[in-house]
Amino acid sequence: MLHTKIVDYKKDKILTSNAEKFIKDSMFGASIYFLGTVRSINDNKKVIGITYDSHDKMVIKSFEEIYNEADQKLDIKDKAVFIEHAKGHLKLGEISIIIAVACKHRGQAYVLSRYIIEEIKKRSPIWKKEHYENKESEWLKGNPIANEKV
């Protein structure tokens, strides 16, 4: 069971309550909520906000691929996964990503949650532009996308 969405912060926000409703099921004994939030310091610079950009279709496709791989690589068949990533301008403390997972056992939930965030970092085309106290802003360098080429 999978839910994915790019949340445009001009119109909407990421809410943990939506994730809770989606993953809650009596067949699961373990739930983990991972939240990424905008923090105030990066590389010794005072950050006041971040603008997120994304290639929405490729991001959603990557979320689906990562979820499907979990079946084969991690052998976790029964699971609920809720992934939302922000797009647009976020202030300090706002949620940029939520990965909520529910599995039968805690070991599975920890492994699955960590797997998803690490793969998103490598494969989902999302970019950050940091805004600083001195009114400057900068796109973060990032890493080359790790997807297979056709």
Binding site: M58, K61, H85, R123, W127, G142, N143, P144, I145, K149
Partner: protein, 89 residues
């Protein structure tokens, strides 16, 4: 032939629009496209080194939302996306 290059991440600084329209030769490769973008930067941004670094470190994606190799041949008028190094989360 004309192609529409959709801009993402750091490449959005290349234009006020969300895309560039570029003329490239028939059956151009992604390498050829990369060179055309660098020519555009030379012309419009006096060869801005940071912008050229972005182009050289970027991947590209097809209309089918797949990452394409540098040898991929662009055979018809199509949209290509430039994918600078990523970093979500």
């Amino acid at each position: 032939m004309k192609i529409k290059l959709e801009l993402f991440g750091a490449s959005r600084d290349f234009s006020d629009k969300d895309h560039l329209e570029l003329n490239i030769k028939d059956k151009a490769s992604i390498d050829d496209l990369r060179n055309e973008i660098i020519k555009y930067i030379d012309k419009n941004f006096q060869g801005n080194e940071d912008f050229i670094k972005v182009v050289k470190s970027s991947a590209f994606c097809s209309e089918n939302n797949e990452i394409i190799s540098d040898n991929y041949k662009i055979t018809k008028n199509q949209n290509i996306g430039i994918i600078p190094p990523i970093g979500g989360g």
